[in-house]
Subunit: 219 residues, 2 copies
Amino acid sequence: MTSRNISRFWEWGRKIICVGRNYADHAKELKNAVPTEPVIFLKPPSSYVTEGSPILIPAYTSDLHHEVELGVVIGKGGTSIPQCEAMDHVAGYALCLDMTARDVQDQCKSQGLPWTLAKAFNTSCPVSAFIPKERVPDPGHVTLWLKVNEHVKQSGCTSQMIFSIPFIISYISDFISLEEGDLILTGTPKGVSAVQEHDELQAGIEGLITMSFRVDRAQ
Amino acid sequence: MTSRNISRFWEWGRKIICVGRNYADHAKELKNAVPTEPVIFLKPPSSYVTEGSPILIPAYTSDLHHEVELGVVIGKGGTSIPQCEAMDHVAGYALCLDMTARDVQDQCKSQGLPWTLAKAFNTSCPVSAFIPKERVPDPGHVTLWLKVNEHVKQSGCTSQMIFSIPFIISYISDFISLEEGDLILTGTPKGVSAVQEHDELQAGIEGLITMSFRVDRAQ
Ligand SMILES: [Mg+2]
Ligand SMILES: [Mg+2]
Ligand SMILES: [Mg+2]
């Protein structure tokens, strides 16, 4: 194996693990109970998209939502990682969107089906440039925001998370081993809404990074 | 990137895409409707296990089921692959088990939650040696079997699949781009049942390959 550059984790990382309903105000806006255990789902690496390429609306949805989230990039793999060691496994962060076909997700939920069509399609995981860990001394107190066509839709602080980053890393690694280059999405604050063809999304972590993506139709 | 050996796809492949309820007799035994569209879910590459290592029962389940399945290994990536070209994207096959925490899956289904805990845990995807495509002239007519401690539990022919391999490849690639080294699990025939610590599982594709795995408790 040639050396792998962690700052381009999306080119070789092998999994994306997402936490749902990790902010109480977002759980409420979707009329979900506040969870007592993290809700975990997967996106495949084929869902990555980086700035310069558009977010594509799948043909089968008419309600594609943005969810702005802090992504945690794993630098050192492990299994059953204790919470007190969890941060040693983090290489850095990325600002991420968990694009969600909400109409399809609602159908999956009511039919007891997996969320794959709603969450795992191509371009469902837009990511920013990599942010080395040293630049984020307190990932539990950063503010995430997202604008659609210049209007603020989401703004929330990671201090509102129900499950902390060390808890999430420890919880996941108990049943899914983490590997270098894996990405964990840590959930979204309230304010999710539908995007349309030609929308411009801008998102940021206050004082750290911004990114922007155009929305297009698949095909 | 150094050259990647397709016969060790589990070491570097980036996704595992599974089809559920693809044999009518298995859909019936679980009291599910026969689907009109494939049910698709994901396992992460960390769920791979090969012969010589045990299948581990997660601590949170008391009903871990075997599901023997034909795995299709992708040799050439693609998006929106037409059915008539689908087989050009196949490098070969593997015999696979889709290990499933059935009690947890039933809970996820009734609560509208993703199937991750039930399907994506470490060792949930035991795989055989790679079988080059040339050795399987008709993947739509091979017989899969599985024994637990020498007793036959599952035996079925891939001709009983509801959705064919070319259909599945085309269907998935419409929303999840396929890449070299990806694995597709194509569903299980009837006869799934619970395994216990110290069980010995043997499985085979008639005339082509056999594999065996011991079952152990996690930790
Ligand atoms: Mg989310
Ligand atoms: Mg995956
Ligand atoms: Mg299965």
